[in-house]
Amino acid sequence: MSVSTTWPAARGANRSRRAGGRPRRQGLLSWVALHSLGLALGLMFLLPFVFVLLTAFMSDQQALTATLWPREWHPENFAEVFTSAPMLRYLGNSLLYAVLATAGMLLSSVPAAYALARLRWRGSNLAFLLVIAAMLLPPQVVAVPLYSLWANNHLTGTLWPLIIPYFLGDAFSIFLLRQFFLTVPQDYLDAARVDGCSELSVLVRVLLPMVRPGLAAASLFTFLYTWNDYFGPLLYTGEAQQSWTLSLALASFRGAHRDTQWNLTMAATIVVMLPVILLFLFAQKSFVRGITFTGVK
């Protein structure tokens, strides 16, 4: 397996020299093999992006050909994306959905997660199991009863059927936050209680400041999930173009312009990708901490 070659070459070379056997050349060979493997894998992941970027700069005609490098650069394609479709409106909708959902998740899931993490009562394990079960539930399964509920309240065609549930609690975030809350030693909380804090102010004044990375991770996950969501907006706003989010708009961007304006489609793809990549670069650490915390100690 390729894995065995991935030890630090220098260390490996030392080892074999110490073992007195193999020549040093093998270290160099494995170094080269390793780096070309890395390069190949990296290229495999990057190639589509490079292609998108290059196509985004091409002229309408050249984008239809199989050439790879733009003959002339057309940066104005990016501006045209905004004039040919109400991208700012879609961006606004995406932000509305993602930001409100994240805020709602924090308001609703923090108390629930705290109750699960710190309060023991008969049935607290069952409650936790139910949260896990809700996490495993595919959105398509409950789509029918939920859709009829929102349709009866005349909210289909807007983003509210997607936002409101986050104010009622989100199973994954509850799970994630619970794992973070469990890492805070009970003594801190007891000390606060002895000092006369109510349970609610223990939560707000003592616990929350200590689990700031957890709050960041849960927010980041919720933001990313709602920003990426395609099924939800498709179901509730598919017919109502004024409520489309970027995901939906991007998929239809191509539909509306057929195959003729690939350069614009690609430019739109980049416009849509950028905010999340920037967000990630700022929040990389808490994101990684978030995924590793969900189950691993």
Binding site: V3, S4, T6, W7, L37, G38, F45, L46, P48, F51, V52, P111, A112, A115, A117, W121, A127, F128, L129, L130, V131, I132, P138, P139, Q140, V141, V142, A143, V144, P145, L146, Y147, P165, L168, G169, A171, I174, F175, T183, Q186, S198, L203, N228, Y230, F231, L235, L250, A251, T265, T269, V272, M273, I277, F280, V288, I291, T294, G295, V296, K297
Partner: protein, 312 residues
């Protein structure tokens, strides 16, 4: 269920934090009370739609025929299992989930091992490798459909030559390629976090004791990673079972139903065929299947690695 075992890794620390408290029960309840409504409410809200789905699954109900709703017992389930398209979709879902999770994990493991070493530009490479996970899945699906698989302009045919129409000749494999591409970075991030939490002393001690690279990897690194791998497989399986965007945007489940998975089939039956009863029955089956698949994948994998027990 494995999911639950995984979800409760902190029980011991919790027990430690909760020595049996002989305080008055009434006082404890007074403190608890403000928090319970949030929890009870949340659980009700997340479970009620599912209970409704279970209820609908015992009804014959098609929106095209108003007033047709009546109780039919298990007939929807019988019909669903007799439906060969449903069985095809079920098989596709299992193949899609198992293959994608395993391949993405292996690639993720390889990349994580590479990134665990110091080399020039590691930070840049890591960020670049993560990008597929960060772009909109809808954008990712379109990107593969147009830049990679298109018979005339696609990179695959540009490199390999020929005029293969990938999405109609190998629809499921094409979708899987996109899903693997999307999920490998996630696996890589998780496994990398596991690798970087290894203690350097133990690794060096193993070297001094004359353990080879493969030996060190198999008996020290892999057991250490097992929790991270389990978690990666579980989260990956939960999301991949639910794949919808890629199929909807790349193949529309076709040609025919060659690349239809269960979420997509349920969506079609409920929102294009308006058969509420049957689509609800399928939904209930999917939930059960999700649990089986995530458990099964984990079991299989850990038997293969034989690293499940004993570590920490």
């Amino acid at each position: 269920m494995t999911a639950v075992e995984l979800a409760l890794p902190t029980t011991t620390s919790q027990d430690r934090d909760h020595p049996v408290q002989p305080r008055s029960d009434r006082g404890a309840w007074k403190r608890r009370a403000p928090l319970l409504p949030a929890l009870v409410f949340t659980i009700a809200v997340t479970q009620v739609p599912f209970l409704l789905t279970v209820f609908y699954s015992f009804q014959s109900w098609n929106l095209v025929r108003p007033g047709s709703q009546h109780f039919v017992g298990l007939r929807n389930y019988v019909d669903v299992f007799a439906d060969s398209q449903f069985r095809g979709a079920m098989l596709n879902t299992v193949v899609l989930t198992v293959v994608c999770v395993l391949v993405a994990m292996l690639l993720g493991l390889g990349l994580a091992l590479l990134l665990d070493r110091a080399f020039l530009g590691r930070g840049v490479v890591r960020t670049l490798l993560i990008t597929p996970f960060l772009i909109l899945p809808a954008a990712g699906a379109l990107l593969w459909k147009t830049t990679m698989f298109d018979p005339t302009y696609g990179l695959l045919n540009f490199v390999l030559g020929g005029e293969t129409d990938w999405l109609s000749e190998f629809p499921l494999a094409s979708v899987m390629a996109q899903v693997v591409w999307q999920w490998t970075p996630f696996m890589m991030l998780l496994i990398l976090a596991g690798l970087q939490s290894q203690s350097k002393e133990v690794l060096e001690a193993a070297q001094v004791d004359g353990a080879g690279r493969w030996r060190t990897f198999a008996s020290i690194t892999l057991p250490q990673l097992s929790r991270f791998l389990q978690l990666a497989a579980l989260l990956g399986a939960i999301y991949v079972v639910n794949s919808f965007d890629a199929i909807f945007l790349m193949t529309q489940g076709g040609p025919g139903t060659a690349s239809t998975n269960l979420p997509y089939y349920i969506y079609q039956r409920a929102f294009e065929g308006f058969d509420i009863g049957q689509s609800s029955a399928m939904g209930v089956i999917v939930v059960i299947l999700t649990m089986i698949v995530s458990t099964f994948t984990l079991r299989l994998m850990f038997r293969a690695f034989d690293v499940s027990g004993g570590v920490r």
